[in-house]
């Protein structure tokens, strides 16, 4: 017998499907990603902390999961919603199917629902708090009744009020040393993906990973060639200390930022951040380099955008909605998208080289 699963909204309405993964209940912000592969990278990306992820592509789990494609050691999404969850994957690297993987990480998944309908709802109404629950096979749940209870919790949930970075950021300093060491970068980890560290190390750059709330003095003690602010979850407005730290670093060392890092740098330069209606999450957004006029297909995962970038400092813009996608100035450079990819296109990995050149 199938387990029941449902996505519940704040008004008590719900979408019922089949449960997979762990039989449990979670609350989070309901968002969607339009990438057609890379589900393992997505659910292990710390930037998704506090969010329930809807995959617009209907067939998820086709190639299972493996030990290489973890962007962090654990699953960060609160739940997963798909049209069809593949239980018989086929791939040379496959070590488990997606459902068992989520179960192991205690994360609920719901399949058999119209994910396009959810995507359209989020597109039209904006991202919104929701809950996801997977019930045990027995006793048969009264979904309608439970949904009403869950709705109360959803109404109390506020994504922007929580400091998710605090949750995902490491507590200790850690070093990653390449075989040949040309440069050293301090990485302020606000929820960093493994691929960022790998990209730096692959370019003979030693990485000192520090917690998001490390102050600038402490950072400069490492005498780094540069500092990088990573991607991460949540509302960038609340990272006041991190922004301050970034501002203090300007002029002392060169600063690079990715995603949340772009928002930190943007704020440090006097810009603001706004919440996008439904964010950019996927592997197909094009950005335009305002210096060269070239466009790049990028990996994106953000719900906030930087506004008020000081004149002359805007570097990239989104080709679809014109929002800021990058900042470049004497002190820093940053991009709103993910040059480290995983998931998504590798087309902007060259930016890590640009960073190295600036050091």
């Amino acid at each position: 017998m199938d387990r029941k699963g449902a996505i519940v909204f704040s008004d008590g309405s719900c979408v019922v499907g089949k449960g997979f993964g762990a039989s449990t209940e979670r609350t989070g912000e309901l968002v969607f990603n339009t990438s057609m592969a890379g589900y393992q990278e997505a659910v292990t990306d710390p930037s998704y902390a506090g969010q329930i992820l809807v995959f617009s592509y209907p067939l998820i789990g086709n190639y299972g999961v493996n030990t290489d494609d973890m962007e962090s050691p654990r699953v960060w999404v609160e739940g997963v919603v798909v049209t069809e969850n593949c239980v018989e994957p086929s791939h040379y690297k496959c070590s488990s199917n997606f459902s068992d993987f989520l179960q192991k990480h205690g994360i609920p998944g719901v399949s058999g629902v119209d994910t396009r309908a959810l995507v359209c709802k989020i597109r039209d109404e904006g991202v919104k708090p929701a809950a996801i629950k997977v019930w045990d096979e027995l006793p048969e749940p009264d979904v309608g009744k439970e949904a009403k209870e869950m709705a109360k919790k959803i109404r109390e949930f506020s994504y922007s009020a929580q400091n998710f970075v605090e949750v995902v950021s490491p507590k200790k300093h850690e070093e990653f040393i390449p075989k040949k060491r040309d440069k050293t970068v301090v990485l302020v980890d606000c929820g960093c993906k493994k691929s960022i560290i790998e990209n730096l190390v692959a370019r003979n750059c030693a990485v000192v990973r520090v917690p998001y709330n490390t102050n600038s003095k402490e950072i400069m003690k490492y005498d780094p060639d540069g500092v990088m602010f990573s991607n991460g979850p949540g509302d960038p407005k609340i990272l006041k200390d991190t922004v301050k730290c970034c501002r203090e670093l300007f002029g002392k060392t060169f600063v690079f930022g990715v995603c949340l890092g772009n928002q930190v740098i943007g704020q440090a330069l006097g810009g603001k951040t706004v919440k996008l209606k439904f964010g950019h999450r996927g592997g197909n957004h094009a950005v335009k380099d305002l210096e060269t006029g070239k466009v790049y297909i990028t990996s994106q995962n953000h719900g906030y955008a930087v506004t008020g970038v000081p004149k002359g400092k805007e570097w990239f813009v989104n080709c679809l909605d014109g929002s800021n996608e990058g900042i470049k100035c004497e002190e820093a450079m940053s991009v709103q998208f993910h040059p480290e990819a995983h998931l998504g296109p590798l087309d902007t990995q060259y930016l890590f080289e640009e960073f190295m050149k600036r050091l």
Binding site: H91, D114, A117, H285, Y296, P345
Partner: protein, 934 residues
């Protein structure tokens, strides 16, 4: 191009396509695609640029051949340069390029002797391909699987090699085949539009493979690696426009190799365009005229074209093969044999499979004869059936089809009844979702729909506008080709101009009618009663004024009765009249009533009945199944024994469960008449004379407009009969009538109350848009009052194109069953000029050694005819290759002629025309369609 205000001149020899319609380009030349002809046209039209990457290999080859001429005339090659094309097409040069940029070609080594060869083969690992140097088109390439074969095959290749060296190359047979469609602009911006995965592993041509989009079995890491590689290759080549890159991927290790690239719009790019909603050819053209990707609009979302489509559905393509028709159960492989394809869109893989199978319109019997895991057109069904008793691992071992696909196909085989029901996957009313290029991320502006039972949100909301549903023709097959796309598109355009909301149902990704911006609403769906009814119900039965069934060939017409029975209004000629024309007995009664002679004929339901019926008729008889396309299983039988031999096949294929036996008129001239009716009046648009002799299917015969060998009296009779038939049936729309003329007597053979195969040809010959008028008539927006009889300034000949070289085991003798897969057309001041041009465009070669055979005394008859026409012509007879008659003895000669690429002429009229041309060595006039009319 037209959107940019650029005057366009189009050259193509194919009359059947909407491309050569006067409304498509500014100037149209229906002329042979030869360097000389194109040079002439360039001389007259003085174009600023030329684009050759949109028309397949033909266009590329022409551009390469004209390279110097174009430079001399300062005609800019737009888009991808000729140098790039040459680089991509040269195996050695391309291989070097791959090595230079660090992309893997299948491992290989060049060797000079057997010792080296064995060592190399061991290092690379069997199986290997051995390729001798300096051989064209893969000649001498051998596939070696076993070690003991290596020496013998190696010696053979070494001997064959021009340089004494042989390339030993790893065979990637059985690995997964993955494709990417890439677009690059002159600013070096590069995107991939679509990834596609062939379900059939390497070894089956991608055009012959069942293909799914997007890729299903690759992780993001695998996918991005291949995507990056394809972009790297396209950049290194310097493509400016579209390019297809094919990879082979080892399913056990993830290692990959680059197989080939096509630096042009291709079959795959057409599929990718329909699969994603991203119009590759349009974008590639904009790039060719200088646009930057970011500056082009994606018309589905109103946003920039610089992005990569995200799909939230599964697309499946299945090729349509002519094996049923050719009576072959051939293996498919590295050479293209399919004539067309169908595409389906579903939420799940299983749904896409079921929909694609429905769209194929193939007759599926319960049990497969000679089931095999070898790649054949039936393999999909055999795999599904086998998974009921065999494990996925066993089927994988036999087919190397990825286990993911096998697991999914297993779901289809696990049905309650034991029989796979492709019609009902889940018993639930479907909803309609949009193909929007962005997986719902942005609101789509253009309505391109597919049905699914795995969704709740219905995105196809009916409007309150006056609307009609137009049924397309489905996959291209012999007997139902691209001409029905032409008709469908003309109908859509006509009704749109008249304020109707046009709703198209079709499932052929190769057509223009399935371009999302051609109609108001496109439903990419199977053409079955149930699928069409779901659409009509969704549009609101009360809002749909009716269905047009006359434009999509027999596929559409076959739905008329069942849709009518479900309360749908069939526009145009009434369903009863359609049946009266199509049903044998009613047709006969009508002809008798009108006093029109028909051939004596009868029907039979069993073998015994057929033999009994035959006794009351006169041999030879034409035996044919009822309600089938293009003369399938149609035979001329000469005696009882012949009949006995053929009857079973004819019966088994008949959709109407009976066969028809007609008395066959030997030596008659066959006439094809295309008419329009408006319910009261009749307009005879074209009286075509078939040049080849009676008994050859009209689709396989050369034909000419205007008719050349009919007396005024016969012509008057033809007009009279046509008018009687059209008005008595109250035809509203098309009516095609087949007649035969023998000894001055006109006999009506068949009436088809729908668009015929010849509608585009006739329309282009006389300069009247027949399909447009037929559509308007059917919505009462036009009548035929005052239509003038067409008068022609030029003769127009239509020539068939045959696929025989792809089917070596197939008998090339022409008979009542249609075998051609395409056609050409040409205008000429004289019949022979038009004939010669059309034949040349169809690839016929009149030069070279003579091939003459005496078949049943026909050579003597020709000689007589020639002598009558003049001594000079008789001389020319000796120079030409004539094989005449359809008598059985002719088969060997005809095969020989086909093998040698010679022309076979099956009529004295044709032979005479060729002889005149050979003698005159004339320089032919090139005619723009725009100037072809009085």
């Amino acid at each position: 191009m037209k959107e940019e205000g650029i005057t366009t001149v189009l050259v193509n020899s194919n009359p059947a396509t909407i491309q050569t319609d006067l409304d498509t380009a500014d100037r149209v030349y229906i002329e042979p695609l030869e360097a000389g002809v194109v040079k002439d046209i360039i001389g007259r039209e003085k174009p600023d640029g030329i684009i050759a990457t949109m028309s397949g290999q033909t266009g590329l080859n022409l551009a390469v051949a004209l390279k110097e001429f174009l430079a001399e005339k300062k005609v800019r090659v737009l888009g991808t340069s000729i140098e790039t094309i040459q680089l991509a097409e040269d195996r050695e040069k391309f291989r070097d390029l791959l090595l230079r940029i660090g992309e893997p070609a299948p491992p290989s080594e060049r060797v000079r002797n057997i010792g080296e060869l064995k060592k190399a083969a061991k290092k690379i690992g069997l199986p290997v391909l051995l390729r001798p140097d300096y051989r064209m088109g893969g000649e001498g390439t051998v596939f070696v699987e076993k070690e003991e074969e290596l020496e013998e095959q190696g010696r053979y290749c070494l001997r064959l090699s021009g340089s004494g060296m042989v390339l030993v190359e790893k065979s990637v047979l059985g690995t997964a085949e993955i494709e990417y469609e890439v677009i690059r602009d002159s600013n070096d911006n590069c995107i991939t539009v679509c990834s596609m995965e062939n379900i059939d592993p390497v070894g089956v041509h991608t055009g012959e493979s069942i293909v799914v989009a997007p890729v299903q079995t690759l992780s993001d890491v695998d996918h991005q690696r291949l995507r990056s590689a394809s972009i790297k290759i396209v950049r290194a080549l310097g493509v400016e426009g579209a390019c297809n890159v094919q990879f082979s991927l080892d399913q056990d290790t993830g290692a990959y190799w680059v197989i080939e690239v096509n630096p042009r719009a291709s079959r795959s790019s057409a599929l990718a365009s329909k699969a994603t909603g991203y119009p590759i050819a349009r974008i590639a053209t904009k790039i060719a005229v200088g646009y930057d990707l970011a500056g082009i609009e994606n018309r589905l979302t109103g946003k920039s074209a610089a992005f990569e489509p995200a799909l939230d559905y599964v697309v499946l393509k299945i090729p349509r093969w002519p094996f049923d028709k050719f009576g072959l159960n051939e293996c498919i492989g590295t050479s293209m044999k399919s004539t067309g394809e169908t595409m389906s869109i579903g939420k799940t893989f299983e749904e896409a499979v079921c929909k694609a199978v429905r769209s194929l319109e193939i007759k599926r019997s319960g049990v497969l004869a000679n089931p095999s895991f070898l790649p054949t057109e039936k393999r999909l069904f055999h795999v599904i059936d086998s998974l009921r008793s065999m494990s996925v691992e066993e089927v994988y071992a036999a087919t190397k089809i990825n286990r993911w696909f096998l697991n999914k196909l297993k779901n289809l085989s696990a049905t309650r009844t034991g029989l796979v029901d492709f019609a009902v996957l889940v018993d639930k009313k479907p909803v309609f979702n949009i193909v929007d290029t962005c997986a719902g991320e942005f609101e789509a502006k253009t309505p391109y729909y597919y049905s699914t039972v795995f969704a709740e949100l219905n995105e196809s909301r009916p409007s309150k506008k006056r609307k009609v549903v137009i049924l397309g023709g489905g996959p291209i097959r012999i007997g139902q080709g691209i001409e029905f796309d032409y008709c469908t598109v003309k109908a859509i355009q006509a009704l749109r101009e008249n304020g109707y909301e046009t709703i198209v149902v079709n499932n052929n990704p190769e057509t223009v009618s399935t371009d999302f911006d051609v109609s108001d609403k496109l439903y990419f769906e199977p053409l079955t009663t149930k699928d069409v009814m779901n659409i009509i119900e969704n549009e609101g039965t009360e809002n749909v004024e009716g269905v047009l069934v006359q434009f999509g060939g027999q596929t559409a017409l076959n739905l008329a009765r069942s849709l009518h029975a479900l309360g749908v209004r069939v526009l145009g000629t009434s369903v009863d009249a359609l049946e009266r024309a199509g049903e044998r007995k009613q047709f006969k009664e009508l002809m008798d009533l009108l006093g029109i002679p028909t051939v004596k004929s009868d029907v039979a339901r069993t073998q015994q009945e057929a033999l009994r019926v035959a006794k009351s008729l006169k041999f030879p008889l034409l035996l044919r199944p009822s309600h089938v396309l293009g003369g399938r299983a149609m035979f001329v039988v000469h005696d009882m024994k012949d009949l006995e031999h053929r009857i079973e096949e004819s019966l088994s294929i008949s959709e109407g469960s009976h066969v028809i036996l007609d008395e066959f008129l030997e030596g008659a001239t066959e006439i094809d008449v295309d008419c329009l009716g408006d319910g009261k009046r009749c307009f005879v648009a074209g009286i075509m004379e078939q040049i080849d002799e009676a008994g050859i299917h009209s689709g396989d015969s050369y034909c000419i407009l205007p008719a050349q060998n009919l007396s005024p009296e016969v012509l008057r009779t033809i007009l009279d009969y046509s008018e009687k038939i059209v008005t008595s049936l109250n035809i509203k729309g098309f009516c095609n009538i087949q007649m035969a003329v023998k000894d001055g007597k006109v006999i009506v053979i068949e009436v088809n109350p729908r668009a015929s195969r010849t509608i585009p040809y006739v329309s282009k010959a006389i300069g009247v848009p027949l399909a447009k008028l037929a559509a308007l008539i059917q919505v009462d927006a036009f009548d035929l009052k005052g239509m003038k009889e067409p008068s022609l300034k030029y003769c127009a000949v239509k020539a068939p194109v045959f696929p025989f070289h792809r089917f070596p085991s197939f008998d090339p003798v022409l008979n009542a069953e249609m075998k051609s897969t395409g056609e050409t057309m040409a205008f000429g001041k004289t019949p022979e000029e038009a004939y010669w041009k059309a034949a040349k465009a169809a690839g016929q070669d009149f030069s070279g050694p003579v091939l003459v055979g005496d078949c049943g005394g026909h050579t003597r008859k020709i000689r007589e005819a020639f002598e009558k026409a003049g001594a000079e012509l008789a001389e020319n007879l000796e120079k030409a290759a004539f094989v005449v008659s359809t008598a059985p003895g002719e088969a060997i000669l005809r095969k020989q002629a086909v093998a040698e690429g010679k022309t076979c002429v099956t009529s004295i009229f044709g032979a005479l025309m060729i002889a005149k041309c050979i003698g005159a060595k004339p320089s032919f006039e090139i005619v723009a369609l725009n100037d072809a009319y009085c």
